[in-house]
Amino acid sequence: MRASLYLRTLGRESRGTRARLAFFVACLSVGVAAVVAVAGLSSSLDDGIRVEARQLLAADLAIVGNRPLPAGFDPTAGTAGVEETRIEEAPTVVAAPPRAGRPGPSQLVELKAVTGAYPFYGTLVLKPARPLAELLAPDATVVASDLLARLHLRLGDDLRIGGLDFRIAGVVVSEPDRVGVSFTVGPRVFISGAGLARTPLMGRGSRISHRLLLKFPPGTPGTRIQAVAERLKQTIPDPAFYRVETYRDAQPALRENLARVERFLGLVALLSLFVGGIGVAESVRAWLAGRLDAIAVLKCLGMRPREIFLLYLGQTALLGLAGSLVGIAAGVAVQQLLPGLFPDLIPAGMVHPWQPLALLRGLGLGAGVAILFSLAPLSAVLRVPPVRVLRREAEPLPRHPLASLVTGVTLIAGILGLASVQSRSWLLGVQFTGGVLLVTVVLAAAALLIVRAVRRMPRDFARPWLRQGLAALARPGAATFGAIVALGLGVLVVLAMSLVERRLAGEFARQLPTDAPSAFLIDIQPDQWPGVRGLLERAGARRIESVPVVPSRLTAIDGVSVDDLTGARSPHRPKDRNRRWMLTREQRLTYMRTLPPDNVVIAGALWSDPAHRPEVSVEESFAEDLKLHLGTVLRFDVEGVPIDLVVTSIRKVNWRSFGINFSLVVEPGVLDQAPQQRFAAVRLPPGGEQRMQDLLAATYPNVTVLRIRELLEKVGKVLNRISLGVRFLGGFTVLAGIAILAGAISAGSARRSHEVALLKTLGMTRRGVVSHFAVEYALIGLVAGAIGACGAAALAWGVVTRGFNLTGQLEPWPLAIGVAASAALTVAAGLAASVRALQRRPIEMLRTE
């Protein structure tokens, strides 16, 4: 057939079916709309999360190192409009100026020297409420209020830093990016970069950490910042000495959740596309069912089967294009509407729906899905017997093995391609395709077994309506079977989506640190603890936890000295550097009889050594980094006293809980007499931290209060946004999936108008026809729903445990509701499609058939 004739015939053939194929266009457009909206919204959501999370980093991107950035390295090369701030941090001892010839009291503090604007994001709350840069003249300092109390100083007094006097120009109330509490050495002291340059502190250089904060122009997409971060990681000289961080790395509690959300969004987009594909396949199947006569006539007229196949494929492609365009428009509209409807979810100005590449991708994916998923139903064209023009009930032509093979291979390769494009990973694409294949085979086998079982089941005992339904289920021919498989797959995907969404959103809600401590108290002397505790209780503190802390150093592992362990290795390999640091740093030991609830022993058993040697329980990643295992003997130096501890258990710690946790927990009784301090975590009533700080400063000036309420609130906000986003996008996809499935069922049922007419002709009332069909649809829906629900439970379990590292939970109720909803949906959509046939006189339907 010549191209011109092909195009002419294509145009003619599409004419009468345009209205009928509205289903097709609708299914596809819902799928594409979901893809476009999810893609757009997830990037907007990501931007929204970034707005919150970057406050925890005080910048968009930070380069952290323990030496200055190499000369000549310009991290902002090629990126215009980026602002920079340089920060140097070091622990140092500050002192009040000498009074009456006697040296003033001194204190170990965390010195932070700032050059440039600080912070870029979040707020540094100061008293007086002025920008840090204004307060920080080269000879001025801004300090934490507890330092004033400890050193008996006031605003305007001098503070001796590095041997030079700085005027105290302000007090720090809260700091946005002070997130770590584990290695805090003391109160905060700010000076300017110029101020630091005045002191001899830079010269020593040993413990100064350098931090370069970068702020990108407003509106820079998160992906761009990530790309810059990746490039910096690749190009920075001596990468072992620097760490490139973005807002993702600012808070360990968020890192894993952000990764989960990304995986979830990828899954949502993939599955919504897949559900759209099922809708397309079903509507093509229904469409072709109505075109069998025309196809037979075309074959009679001498059109070759493959020409007819191409004809319908061409139509499908055109419809796919139409559906994709409608879907893109709908997806863009959804994105435009959302910020107005859910301002908490996506802040206005965060939505950029007009991204030509993303839209083009939606178009390509839509057309691709349309063609791919219609291949199998379209191949039925090849099997239409031309003799149908004479005998409508003629058997279909035998399946052509090569055609089946080509269709199958193309479909699998196509799904693989689409999944890889959508998830931007070949590995994920392969996993998804394999999963879909496996699930389809299992579903088909289950459907076949059930249909066979029903066929064998005696149904004489049943009431007529049930008998009719059972008979319909067991009817020979692939229609019922195909419908069950397609519907089952749809139910599986939608239900799995909803289960994963529930689990994930539930997890985010659970992680919201509602009961986490709002302040940590460090450096409490053991004899001060009863008094401090009393103060806390009177101030209305809840959840007061306290543990002893024994400072120590690790000196040997299994008899090999740490000096030998570290000296043997090159300092340039990052892993070894980390190990060396972990081996040589100060180790804070604690001791307790039972572990806190957020600790789980994963190997060995607590305090179980049969030889009754002193024992230690080690946290999992610490054990991994130092290559420790059960039975390893660690030697610690505690204030000059060597202590040998045998590792008898390894623990997993949930660091997200914000509770007090230690890498090393020692058996009680070993360290009880060692020099120690106490460490406490409390939850204070809102605003109580400052009062507590003032109270403690007056009575126990050596105790430092670390406020983490602001940090917790920020983490909470981000988690909330993530949870809301997951619920919303998951719900959106589930709804889209239900709409598509309803459409597919309707499309499949529309061809049964002839049967309606026939039953009416045989004297069945409309009510009778409705109940007859309802039972049949309900049974199909129940069977498909049951199979789909089992599959969904398995899929959701796999995704939750493997993909999200969460514990799986079997929830029977959503599954049961899913099965019931599947039956109800099938009945409703199926009957809705037969309404027209029910209303018209039978003869009209019989004639048009």
Binding site: M1, E13, A296, C300, G302, E307, P385, P386
Partner: protein, 296 residues
Amino acid sequence: MPTASPSATAASAAAVPSIKVPSIEVPSIEVPRVEVPRIELIRLTRRLPSGGRELTIVDAVDLTIPAGQFVAVLGPSGSGKSTLLALMAGLDRPTSGEVRIDGRPISGLSEDELALLRRHQIGFVFQSFQLLGNLTARENVLLPAELRGLPDPPARADELLAAVGLADRGHHYPSQLSGGEQQRVALARAFAARPPILLADEPTGNLDGATGRIVLDLMTGLRRREGTTLVLVTHDAAVAALADRQIHLLDGRIERATGLPELTAAGPETAAAAAAAAATPDAAVHAESPMAVVGR
């Protein structure tokens, strides 16, 4: 059932000129020197599975139809008439036996090759019209001519629509036409690609008497004009009487044949000869020969 006999063979050789083709507007037909029957059925059998057992629909039918002949196939409902027609057109495949078109066996052809055979050789008229509902009357007629690749299909379609008296209804869709009009469009479509063979299945079965008569007259007139071999299935003796030959089917077997004798007998020897003839390059030319002359 007709059997091969030497006299029949002899008579058939002389029968070609005597076919009723005087109304053909072209003065002469190139009569092939080696006569190959247009359609040949050899021990043609079709069984269909029915409720666990096999039902023989067409039972070892032998039949030879020469080029240009008008054969009516008669028989009661269920006698296998339509199946016989479907087998002749390669719409259905025989359980055993063979169909030859212009001496060429069609049983080994793929679905694609069968489609091409129909495109070039066979036109259809059905009881239920089978017009394509998405296409206008004119487009329905155009399609076979376009598929065949004839020069100027629109002119051909207009000419045929005029011939069936529907010149001004070409832009209507089938649903906007009466039954008789639809069947006239179907007739025009059947002749559009100048097929040497026309197969008609109860073409007047869905029409009232007067309309049926008009359609029948148009069909026979066009057939004469185009020199088409016509096989018409009917249960109406009056319709069958218009044919050169009447084949009566009963339970899938030829009960009797009336009218003109066959041109070639379906004996094994002649079948072999025909097969040999079909293998010669001339065969294709012969197959096309009536079309090459008629109607140009």
